[in-house]
């Protein structure tokens, strides 16, 4: 074919070669490496003037390196007068948008070892930030986030600011601030709480109309602290609450001393989200779309985008190809009893995807629902299965038995997967549907830490499934996910090769089967180049070879 060039980034050259083989053309030559100072170096070796350029790069390994390399390649082709640049990104980076800073299972943040917390001193009052500083509080914390961030309630208001509503409620005594012992799961925090100074002001300090910030003495707003379930074993400090009207809340530095008392403990104001700022994780999807556009991409092709709404973030056309036809064909060819199998979605979000496949095959469908326990810090909540309350301070290390209304609890505990994240076990898995005596096929789009898949498999086996297989489009399997899969009750894991699978194959052996998406991508590239419709690719009627 003339005037078309397919380049490969350094993330997945095998897939690019497979695509080129099907297109019956050689891979275009480009030298990709790094300079001595770790900057990416891109040299395009063939002329791309007035050519259709396709750059194949998948988000795996070091995602930031891959992304920057892709952007530089697109940019290089753009200023070399390429006619059109199509970025073929089988596994799209930053496709998942987390709501909370981290989830208790799945997508855990890489934990910073305690010894290295110095580097993250600015994070929520870590050890180094407290040298002589005031507004970040005197707390010494060794975790990236305050403990209660797990349930979305921040520990203290940031920078000493309280919003007006909380202040008023505290002042009026409607809510009593309670102190809990700072999380026993973090070392040494209790000893580091700065004891409050004795109150030197009378209660008139609260209602006085002084314009200066109140001094560091702290005083309760006239109400004794209760000894209820929220009170802690240690002597709660008194708080002086600056009156919102007489006190400038604007300047964090001058205000800091006034709220020293507040900052030194863990302030839980029940019913209010800490009265302060809710930490949020940045969602980078739109940014990545903008970066690709600004680098000069004219068209994006991807496979099974995690969130199909992503297409709206782009200003350029996006082809979100589906491997569903390939999955359907794989099931028909490799599962002799597929007519009696059950398609299972491991979470509620993937129900639509799994049910579509079930409909195509004409077989049954089931769903696993994760019941999350919210606000685990409040002991008043009793979970509905009667197991008693959980607090974030006492995290069970071994997984809790999986209970559900349908399935009876396990008599013997299943071997627990080796888990790096110990907070994983606090949710129950409910199975909706029946799988007794059937082969179960789990369908999901991404397997990253593989908590979802392995836990779902356990649920299915305990519900009576005879065989559990999982078909996943993007088998990223980062961290120790592969070990987790190996030790799990998943009989077979079938992934596509959007992400390179050689390393995983070495560890998993026969448990892992890989099907090739090169055919789908090659066909898409051919049709895009020739200006033909690709809607046929969304249809399951066309013939594909599936490789292992």
């Amino acid at each position: 074919m003339r005037s078309i060039n397919v380049f490969s980034g350094s993330s997945h050259p095998a897939l690019a070669r497979s695509i080129c083989q099907r297109l019956n053309m050689p891979l275009a030559e480009a030298n990709l490496s790094k300079f001595a100072n770790r900057e990416t170096s891109v040299e395009i070796k063939v002329s791309v003037r007035q050519c259709d350029v396709y750059i194949v790069q998948s988000a795996c390994g070091n995602v930031n390196d891959m992304l920057v390399e892709l952007l530089i390649m697109i940019h290089a082709c753009k200023i070399a007068s390429a006619r059109r640049i199509v970025a073929v990104i089988p596994c799209f980076p930053y496709a998942r948008q987390p709501e909370t800073p981290y989830k208790r299972n799945g997508m855990p943040l890489s934990r910073v070892p305690i010894e290295e917390m110095d580097k993250f001193a600015t994070v929520f009052g870590g050890p180094s930030a407290n040298a002589g500083s005031s507004s970040s509080g005197g707390r010494q914390r060794n975790t990236p986030f305050p403990t209660s961030a797990a349930n979305g309630v921040p520990e203290t208001p940031a920078n000493g600011r309280l919003d007006t509503s909380t202040l008023e409620r505290l002042r009026d005594g409607a809510v009593s601030p309670a102190f809990s012992t700072p999380s026993t799961s973090t070392q040494g925090s209790a000893a580091d709480i700065v004891p409050p100074e004795s109150p030197a002001e009378s209660s008139s300090a609260i209602s006085s109309s002084s314009a200066t910030p109140t001094p560091s003495s702290v005083r309760a707003p006239g109400k004794a602290l209760p000894n209820g379930p929220l009170a802690s074993n240690r002597q709660p400090a008194n708080i002086s609450v600056p009156h919102p009207l007489t006190h400038s809340l604007g300047n964090p530095v001058s205000n800091a001393s006034a709220v020293q008392g507040l900052m030194s403990g863990s302030l839980h104001v029940p019913g209010v989200t800490g009265g302060g700022y809710k930490h949020w994780a940045a969602k980078s999807g739109k940014l990545i779309a903008d970066l690709l556009g600004v680098a000069g991409a004219d068209h994006i092709t991807t496979v099974d985008l995690h969130d199909p709404h992503f297409q709206g973030f782009f200003g350029v056309p996006v082809d979100n190809l589906s491997v569903e036809p390939v999955m359907v064909r794989y099931i028909k060819e490799h599962f002799p009893d597929w007519k009696k199998a059950v398609i299972v979605s491991p979470d509620a979000g993937g129900a639509k995807r799994a049910s579509k496949i079930a409909d195509r095959l004409g077989i049954d469908f089931a769903l696993i629902h994760k019941e999350r326990r919210h606000f685990a810090g409040t002991p008043a909540v009793v979970d509905k299965h009667g197991e008693g309350s959980h607090t974030t301070t006492t995290v069970p290390v071994s997984p809790s038995p999986i209970t559900s209304p349908i399935v009876s609890p396990l008599a013997t505990p299943l071997p627990s997967p080796s888990s790096a994240s110990t907070v994983a076990a606090a949710s129950d898995m409910l199975l909706v549907g029946s799988v007794t005596g059937r082969t179960c096929i789990l369908i999901d789009d991404i397997a990253d830490t593989s908590f979802t898949i392995t836990k779902a498999a356990r649920t299915l086996v305990s519900a009576g499934a005879t065989k559990v297989c999982a078909i996943v489009t993007h088998g990223i399997m980062s961290g120790d996910a592969v070990t987790r899969i190996k030790k799990s009750v998943v009989d077979e894991l079938i992934v596509s090769n959007t992400v390179p699978q050689e390393e995983h194959r070495k560890l998993l052996g026969d448990k892992l089967k890989v099907f090739d998406v090169g055919a789908v991508l090659a066909e898409a590239i051919r049709r895009i180049h020739n200006g033909e419709s690709i809607s046929l690719l969304y249809n399951n009627l066309w013939a594909l070879e599936t490789h292992e």
């Binding site: 900057e39 890489s110 600015t122 530095v253 940045a282």
Partner: protein
Amino acid sequence: MAQTNVLAGHGSTTNSIKIFAGNSHLQLAKLVAKRLGLDLARVAVLKYSNQETSVTVGESVRDEDVFIIQTGAGEINDALMELLIMINACRSASARRITAVVPSYPYARQDRKDKSRAPITGKLVANMLTKAGCDHLITMDLHASQIQGFFDIPVDNLFAEPMMCKWVRDNVPECKNLDCIIVSPDAGGAKRAAAMADKLGVDFALIHKERKKANEVSKMILVGDVRGKVAVLVDDMADTCGTLGKAAEVLIENGATKVYAAVTHGVLSGKATSIINSSPLTKLVMTNSIPHEDKALLCPKIETIDISMTLAEAIRRTHNGESVSYLFGNVPDGMGELDVVG
């Protein structure tokens, strides 16, 4: 303890300033914040298990003047992505203005298309920063000052020259009796070296080299007279240090008594430290635009100039709407008076 708030609070709730730091140079960011009498704002920049960067902002930035301090060093692509995501996060959180403080601009050396299909990555980075939502850029000693033209947003290209001149005056006694000479290790830096020579009132020389391959130096020819003088090599970046090492040898061969090197950005990648150690250089002075404590442990010839005061002044003046041009020719007061903690 009463903190002198350099930002001269107006007393009312005018929008204040927030300083965020990425992971590339936390120490410099802390110094800058300390000079301004502020704490660094709360942000957690970490990685998910699949290596994607995660930015969690712990404070409100609504209607704030946000400064993000991140330099192009270490794992540059990670640093760049962290910066972009932080800018974007602050933008979508309604910050009033976002200024990126990038002492060492990443990919500055790819600033033109010098061969077929070479990417101008410096321009790409400029596009990306602007698109992410950056309103202003503060950087130092850009490899080519024309990079300012890559941006549609205002760019402050600060100079390390005043600090370098001060260092030379304080540490090279021969400078007073004009037994000192400023040398540029390549033709491209001639203008920079000449400006410094004029400021110090000393002579200027130049080393001309012909390159065969990237990062490999061949013949070097000295243009100028260095006999009996103390030479000070001046350059913007020291990466593999092949240039500096060879230049020092050439100068000694041609009669220089001692050779110093004053470089703004000390990348020091690969075998740079051993090259410096085995070279005839007496001292290598660099700014702390790029962190190099670990390299300094290996190479006793390294001395560091702290740029945190200049950056802090630039931030303060930008926030208060004052002129920054004072910094182009002067070293701000308060240099060296700070007790560096941690």
